[in-house]
């Protein structure tokens, strides 16, 4: 049976809001624990990496097209092309390459 999308949205929103609002209203001191600070420091990079690969090669019709978008995206980002140009670069790569397969 399909779960109710509104319950999903309610849960995700409740957790997100709690994460952001509770520290602002309750915690008035800075987190001192070095381990927790380090953990929270690394989480965004790692979670974004894990979500990007290999998912990017499965969204396109052929994994090679997705791989090409990934590689070109990394090259673009390496040379500081910015959020939007990198995204467009990936889109155009897929759009062009999918003509050939």
């Amino acid at each position: 049976m399909k779960n109710n999308p509104y319950i999903y949205i309610a849960i995700m929103s409740a957790v997100t809001l709690a994460i952001r609002i509770l520290p602002l209203t309750l915690i008035r001191k800075q987190i001192k624990n070095r381990f927790i600070r380090s953990f929270l420091y690394y989480v965004p990079y790692i979670t974004l990496s894990v979500m990007t690969f290999p998912a990017i090669i499965h969204t396109t019709k052929s994994p090679w097209v997705g791989s090409a978008a990934l590689v070109l995206g990394i090259i673009g980002a390496w040379f500081k092309a910015g959020l939007f140009p990198v995204a467009i670069l990936c889109c155009i790569t897929v759009f062009i390459l999918e003509f050939f397969i």
Binding site: N3, P5, Y8, L24, L40, V43, G66, A87
Partner: protein
């Protein structure tokens, strides 16, 4: 054309005199709102693939204001995973906002009433956190609200239109747009990975272990959402143990 821009300029000059701080928030919020619109637009494609309609996508974005968090959440919805998994997933994907909110809480004057804290907390995103923390002195709620006025509609309406566009546009374009969000993730992780070799190592290890987890026996049977959750926690714990962040280094990041 120039007459229109002149009128807009005049209008803003008038507003600036009456509500200066609020308008500074709007000014700094406009580019953020436009950027959000583009990101949210491609997020709308993900929402649509998860089976959400335009209103549901809009609602999710209006209440969450989080790119990685919402993407992770939509993965959970697409897989029809149990509800508890959604809670854990969001907790992990949005864990960094906990850090940001803690940092931001240090910058409130003690006289700031609770409702300002709640409304500001609602939209603590990477970008709004960035522009707010960059200002001198205590956090000014009016400045934040000005920026929110641009950021919130940009994000939620972007998602709404993204879902609709996904239904209308031809398959080929939808397929190409599908990688836009990943492109933005890449653009977020790669520049710091270039500067900092530990982040670079973390990104490479994440790619390898995430790929391995998707093909290895047993592990690959888990849903994509579960794998993301487990890998994020395990790798971040390892990174925190082996490469703890110094106070100074962390301060530089902000």
């Amino acid at each position: 054309m120039s007459r229109i821009t002149d009128k807009i300029k005049l209008f803003f000059r008038f507003l600036f005199i009456r509500e200066r701080i609020f308008c500074e928030g709007i000014r700094d919020g406009i580019p953020i709102g436009l950027g959000y619109f583009a990101v949210a637009f491609s997020l709308g494609f993900t929402a649509r693939e998860a089976g959400l309609n335009a209103f549901q996508g809009f609602l999710a974005s209006l209440l969450n204001n989080a790119s990685a968090g919402e993407y992770a959440g939509f993965t959970v919805i697409r897989e029809n995973a149990p509800y508890w998994q959604m809670a854990v997933m969001i907790l992990i994907a949005n864990a960094r906002y906990l850090l940001m909110s803690c940092a931001l809480s240090q910058r409130f004057s003690s006289s700031t009433p609770w409702y300002h804290r709640v409304f500001i907390g609602y939209d603590v995103t990477d970008e709004l956190f960035g522009i707010t923390i960059a200002r001198k002195g205590d956090v000014e709620p009016k400045y934040f609200y000005g920026a929110m006025l641009c950021a919130v509609p940009g994000w939620s309406i972007g998602t709404l239109l993204g879902v609709i566009a996904g239904n209308i546009l031809p398959d080929r374009i939808v397929s190409a747009f599908g990688v836009a969000l990943f492109g933005m993730f890449i653009a977020i992780i790669i520049p710091p990975a270039r500067e900092n070799k530990i982040i670079r190592l973390a990104v490479i290890c994440s790619f390898i272990s995430s790929y391995a987890a998707s093909i290895l026996p047993y592990v690959s049977k888990l849903s994509e959402g579960t794998r993301i959750m487990i890998l994020t926690v395990v790798l971040s714990v390892l990174a925190a143990i082996f490469f703890p962040v110094d106070e100074k280094e962390n301060a530089d990041e902000k």
